[in-house]
């Protein structure tokens, strides 16, 4: 096999190369700034080479990677989010002198590489490798504050164990799928012949469970709030945004490229109902902002899954638009939090501490409200149109029950999002000196950019609606050939 036979999307190459250079630079002389700059440059380069690839995709579909409009879209979202997160983390890493921190951007880059690999993968192997690269880098990142904040260790341990368990289940499922189809192609195992049906069902369910674990869909969600609370804020952002986009993108590719198994609808309906209600109800009682966002991100996964479950000609636009809306709004919320949070401990994330923020930091408080309203699905934020599209898919492919759940979830969501805004508008009771008062131009710029995306996306969404979901790439004839 020669070099040009291997089909490789260029962004993957660029990011890997960047990571190697960063590693070499770290070995030569440690410098936080250089590490950050290296990370950002390689991410920007990866954006620049987004459409390119080396080699030629084999006609039979036996490639490790795949590149189409869907991968392009989600990869851009991932790289953009990583850039934002690196920007958020920049100052934090510089402030914390107790730990050696030039691994911090390096681990972020590794996580991004894993996410990208998942997005581009067309094969179980590359998918699983990507998943594990991302997971392992996240363990290191989650533990980053362990010296100053005990919960950091707990978060990392929890993530290590649960992620390991879920990977094991996933791997078992992959193994079963391979035993059925004899192929490592990344698609749901469907057998045409009269093989016992139990095996494909078991394989699919195990793979689904593994994916739901990573997506933190209820009932596999318990780890997310704890891990996000223990991790530094940028890492929590990474968990909430990048890793979810990556796994959701894989989920869409996995089940979107072929026929869906018959039991799929029922399982997914139950999971969606539980996810939306569970996430929202959990969020209702949280006093920590990060935990609240973790729970609400669980609920948002549920909304996304509704669109995923409702095939129709609105589906593709709805999924892509919702991903964009969720990414922009969530990044915005976390960027605002970072602007206040101090690196040590969980400070700045208790909702009580945000009392009266409108009077002290009107700009940031307004931006925060905008993002929260967008997450709640209220105009003029981008989230309004996104939720509208999700509801449209649900009405188009009639799913009355899920629509009711969507509505109830949205009303509950409205309550806790508004509660934060209400808190910010309340008269400040005590001066809270723990909030960060440093001027942070890079964060302000980031918040402005994200606010503009949110508002413009909400007012002129026409440009952002595209049908990008992967088309079934393999004709059914090939599937039959792959069956033993």
């Amino acid at each position: 096999m020669t070099g040009h036979d291997v089909f490789l999307p260029m962004p993957l190459m660029v990011v890997s190369l960047g990571i190697m250079i960063m590693l070499a630079a770290t070995a030569w002389r440690r410098s936080v700034e250089r590490s950050f700059v290296g990370g950002m440059v390689s991410l920007l380069l990866a954006l620049a080479v987004m459409g390119h690839h080396t080699g030629r995709m084999p006609d039979t579909g036996g490639s490790l990677f795949i590149q189409d409009r869907w991968t392009g879209y989600t990869a851009i979202l991932i790289i953009f989010s990583s850039l934002c997160i690196l920007l958020m983390a920049w100052r934090d890493a510089g402030h914390d002198r107790t730990t050696l921190v030039d691994e911090y951007p390096l681990l972020f880059m590794l996580g991004t590489l894993g996410a990208l690999a998942m997005v581009f993968s067309a094969n179980y192997m590359s998918f699983f490798l990507g998943l594990e690269i991302q997971g392992i880098s996240l363990i290191g990142l989650a533990a980053f504050r362990h010296r100053s904040f005990m919960q950091g260790c707990e978060a990392a341990m929890k993530y290590l164990i649960l992620s390991g368990v879920s990977s094991a289940i996933l791997l078992f499922g992959i193994g079963l799928a391979y035993s059925i189809t004899g192929s490592l192609r990344f698609m749901a195992p469907i057998v045409a012949g009269d093989l016992p049906a139990a095996l494909p069902v078991a394989a699919t369910v195990m793979i689904l469970v593994g994916m739901f674990f990573k997506l933190s869909a209820v009932p596999f969600h318990m780890w997310l709030p704890d891990v996000m609370e223990g991790a530094p804020v940028p890492v929590a952002t990474f968990l909430a945004v990048v890793s979810k986009i990556a796994i959701f993108s894989s989920l869409v590719r996995y089940f979107g490229t072929g026929d869906q198994p018959p039991f799929f609808d029922d399982i997914l309906s139950v999971v969606i109902t539980l996810t939306i209600l569970g996430g929202n109800l959990l969020a209702l009682r949280q006093t920590s902002l990060i935990r609240l966002l973790a729970c609400s991100s669980i609920a948002h996964v549920g909304y996304l899954l509704i669109a995923f479950l409702c095939p129709g000609h609105l589906q593709s636009g709805a999924i892509t638009f919702y991903l964009l809306a969720y990414t922009a709004s969530t990044l915005g919320v976390f960027a605002t939090i970072t602007a206040f949070a101090i690196h040590e401990g969980p400070d700045g994330t208790a909702i009580m501490q945000w009392k009266g923020l409108f009077f002290r930091r009107p700009f940031l408080a307004s931006a925060m409200s905008l993002m929260l309203l967008s997450l709640a699905g209220i105009p003029p934020g981008i989230g309004f149109f996104a939720k509208f599209e999700i509801a449209a898919t649900g009405v188009e492919y009639p799913r009355g029950l899920l629509l009711c759940v969507l509505m109830i979830g949205s009303i509950i969501g409205l309550y806790y999002y508004l509660n934060i805004i209400r808190m910010m508008m309340a008269a400040p009771s005590l001066p809270s000196p723990r909030l960060n008062r440093h001027a942070r131009p890079e964060l302000t710029a980031l918040v402005i950019v994200l606010s503009m995306i949110v508002v413009i996306g909400g007012l002129l969404p026409a440009r952002a609606i595209h049908s990008l979901l992967p088309a079934p790439t393999v004709p059914p004839a090939v599937q039959d050939r792959m069956a033993p």
Binding site: G317, A391, V395, I411, M425, A462
Partner: protein, 500 residues
């Protein structure tokens, strides 16, 4: 240039300007404190000018729709910014503008903190409301419907009275939650239309022609109805209203009672009755029952209130019951009565809230047990209060009477029993209105009242305008009856000869 988008955008832009003006500080010259106030005044004046132009313009085409504007917005979903104006929306926009002037002259000067932001939110609410009255694309309608709630929420939550935050949350949860039901109905209608014709559109004129099965049409109508019922408010879902009205700052109370509630009535006329005529007529008995329940329940509770603002809030529920009754009475007369009642209630209740706000500013209480005998100290305020209280109880010769009379007459043709029950509601109306007058204005003056400043003449001039309108509505309703009739959806403002 087409005036309709200007009507919506102008308040928004004016609001931003007012915000900017409010942030400029000149410590030397305290009069710049009111810079944003002047900006709002200018905005409203220009807006009035545009509206006058629209009202008296010569029309190039014959037809019930006065103006039309359309521009593609999200072509992929068949969404366009479609604005159309007929008599109903025109009269309601006039009402909104008059009340905004009232707010501006009488109420917003009491706000001292963050004046610019207050004025921005005030105008943003107005923009949302005007957009709601004009939109004929269902998505655009929903967009404005949601949009007007956010600034109102902030107005209540940030500038309201002691328990403002809870009230604001309640207001937002109720209105927004019911709005989601309407969203589902909108989507259902659009997709049913798409299935039958293959055209994805949110254009209300196209959707009005969609043939629907009776069950589906009833279901969709109910989704709309719930959202509008919360806004109107209809009795089981009215619980947000007393709190919101009581806790809101005066200007927001006026906006809420005067205009925001009218969007509910407007929606019922335009969307329930005209978009789903059959389902609406099937549903009419229930709706009328709810209307009567609202009339009696609101009036009854209003009699038991000690808090002035709460009293007015409950009386609003009672008055809006007449609107619901009229809309679903199934006759043109009832519809006209409902519209008259909306206009009259908007003017009268807004003025009452202004008076209640003025009393609270001067005495720092809304408790009627602690206010008393204001007539001697403030004859002008008390006289105005008496006038509007009498208007509220439905004195012949004033606008409320016309509205209630038309509604009762129309109801009588449908069901005499319902009409009788609704008419009984007028008895407690007299009780609460006169009780308020008695205790606040006419009772013996309380000992230890501070020396109070009466309404200055310029305030009286503004209120006199409102009174004039009410009297005109009462004495010569014919003018408004022809002017404010809603246009049928079967006739469109033809797009070809009137495109922008």
């Amino acid at each position: 240039m087409n005036p309709l988008p200007a009507l919506v955008l102008l308040p928004l832009m004016g609001g931003v300007l007012a915000w900017v003006a409010g942030r400029m500080r000149h410590p030397v010259n305290p009069s710049t404190h009111h810079a944003s106030w002047w900006v709002v005044l200018a905005t409203l004046s220009v807006e009035t000018l545009i509206l006058v132009m629209v009202t008296f313009a010569h029309r190039a085409h014959a037809g019930p729709w006065l103006e039309h504007f359309s521009m593609p917005w999200i072509p992929a979903m068949g969404i366009a910014v479609r604005l159309d104006m007929d008599g109903l929306s025109l009269s309601l926009i006039w009402l909104s503008l008059i009340l905004c002037f009232v707010c501006l002259f009488l109420a917003t000067r009491q706000v001292t903190a963050h004046v610019g932001a207050f004025h921005f939110l005030f105008l943003a609410t107005l923009a949302g409301i005007i957009g709601t009255f004009l939109a004929t694309d269902l998505f655009v309608f929903f967009f404005f419907w949601e949009l007007m709630l956010v600034p109102m929420f902030v107005l209540i939550a940030a500038w309201g009275h002691e328990d403002r935050q809870r009230a604001a949350m309640k207001f937002f949860m109720f209105t927004q939650g019911s709005g989601l039901l309407m969203l589902l109905s909108i989507l259902g209608l659009v997709i049913a239309h798409d299935r039958q014709t293959g055209v994805l559109t949110f254009d209300i004129f196209a959707l009005a022609r969609t043939p629907l099965s009776p069950a589906l049409s009833m279901l969709l109508m109910l989704g709309f109805f719930t959202a509008f019922a919360v806004k109107l408010p209809v009795v089981p879902v009215h619980v947000w209203l007393p709190d919101a009205h009581t806790q809101a700052p005066t200007a927001a109370s006026v906006l809420l009672a005067g205009i925001l509630l009218k969007t509910g009535g407007y929606g019922m006329i335009r969307f329930n009755v005209m978009l789903f005529p059959d389902a609406a007529s099937h549903f009419a008995p229930i709706a009328m029952g709810l209307g009567v329940a609202g009339i009696l329940y609101g009036a009854w509770l209003s009699c038991a209130q000690d808090d002035v603002k709460r009293l007015i809030a409950y009386s609003s529920i009672s008055h809006m019951g007449f609107v619901l009754l009229g809309i679903f009475s199934g006759s043109a007369m009832g519809m006209q009565g409902a519209i008259m009642q909306m206009l009259a209630h908007g003017l009268g209740t807004a003025a009452l809230f202004v008076i209640a706000g003025a009393i609270q500013d001067r005495l720092h209480t809304r408790d009627m047990n602690r206010i008393g005998g204001l007539w001697a100290a403030m004859p002008r305020l008390s006289g105005t209060g008496l006038f509007f209280a009498v208007a509220s109880l439905g004195m012949p010769g004033l606008g409320n009477f016309t509205g209630e009379f038309l509604v009762l007459l129309a109801t009588w043709h449908v069901s005499p029993a319902t009409a009788t029950l609704a008419a009984i509601g007028l008895v407690p109306a007299a009780i609460y209105a006169l009780r308020m007058v008695n205790r606040i204005f006419l009772a013996a003056p309380r000992a230890g009242l501070p020396s109070l400043e009466d309404f200055p003449l310029r305030h009286m001039a503004v209120l006199a305008c409102v009174m004039t309108f009410l009297i005109m509505l009462g004495l010569y309703p014919q003018l408004f009856r022809t002017f404010s009739a809603p246009s049928p959806l079967s006739v469109t403002a033809s797009q070809e000869d009137h495109a922008p």
